[in-house]
Amino acid sequence: MIFKNLIAAVLYEMINFILKHQDFFEKPTNSRKQIIDQTELPHPFKVYLEQVEGAQFILDLKLILSFLKNPPKTKIQNHPFFNALCELFAHSFSIRLDLMSDYATAKENERRAVVKKLIAVENSVGKALKKLLLNNSYQELSNAIQALCQKTWGNTYTLLQFPCSINPELKKEIRGELRQTDSTLFPIFQVNRQLIGGFRIFKGGKTTDYSWIRKVLKLKNYASKGI
């Protein structure tokens, strides 16, 4: 499970924060927001801390530890903490992941420099996120995030294939557009040179093909029928 370090880092930051603000759970939600904004936790976790109650937080910690021990056997469906984690991955982290995919073959120094630019936070969560980007390939991370989102949200598997690598801005636009219809979607981008042009999308078992190879094969079909 490649997210163990990140989850552990988030827990560490949260617990540190709770320890610093021991009366945090007794405060009303409005006041909590002001205090949480001072932390450097990712936004989804800030929202989680705003909303969770003290007793529930302890139970959540138990579940999170159980998940770290044995991920396959722990049920995390629609759990607020894991909802926050998936929200982090599906939104802000995915943008950085898409940007990093352009540097897949770059030298180590260059990759480190880019990651440092993408994730400016220097706390343990920031370090864990940087490690994730540096030590795992785009495909590995995408598949792991999709698996986590499937387990948490029961989302629809979405894969987009392109004939060549596309720029991160377009990826961001595509993610944004698809999440407007379904916010649990985590689209995975893949290069398939056989498409020649256009793209192909697999969503929830349905394929929509806008590729040039489909058009060529359609033309061949028409030619063989003499139409």
Partner: protein, 168 residues
């Protein structure tokens, strides 16, 4: 007289003896030689006559049989001639029948050959069309895979994405 004969040297008793002797010889010859010989001769004559008669009978019979055989032969020949005529007629009929059948088979075979030729022609045309289609596809794929600039490919992605947004 007797003395004359004696002077001549002729003895009457010798003559009588010679005559009796001759007579005895004759009698003996007659009974022991001539009769058997005559009997034998008669027997032989009879045998010969019998043989001749038998031969005549055989000859007659043979002639009858020959005649009969010749009649039968003629009859058989006539029957054969009739059979030949019948056979010729039958052969002629069979020949006509066979020719008709052959003609039917020939027409049928020609018809089938023509069908086979047409079928083969269609199949060849189809094969050639398929080959042309495949070659066209290969050429098109080669061009679009290797000759199209990357900018055009990237433009196609953007255009397809716009099309997707409109339809969804």
């Amino acid at each position: 007289m007797a003395d004359q004969f004696k002077q001549l040297g002729i003895d009457l008793w010798s003559i009588v003896l010679y005559m009796a002797n001759t007579g005895v010889v004759l009698v003996i010859l007659f009974y022991f030689l001539y009769k058997p010989i005559l009997k034998t001769l008669d027997q032989r004559r009879k045998n010969i006559a019998d043989s001749i008669e038998e031969a005549n009978l055989l000859r007659n019979e043979f002639e009858k049989k020959l005649k009969k055989t010749e009649q039968e032969k003629e009859k058989t020949e006539q029957e054969l001639r009739q059979e030949m005529v019948k056979m010729k007629k039958m052969i002629e009929e069979k020949r006509t029948e066979l020719i008709e059948e052959m003609e039917i088979v020939r027409t049928d075979m020609l018809h089938k050959s023509q069908e086979e030729i047409d079928k083969r022609k269609k199949s060849l045309i189809k094969e050639v069309e398929q080959e042309i289609t495949q070659t066209m596809t290969r050429i098109i794929l080669d061009i679009v895979q290797n000759k199209v600039p990357e900018t055009v490919v990237k433009e196609s992605i953007t255009d397809s994405w716009k099309e997707y947004k409109i339809k969804n």
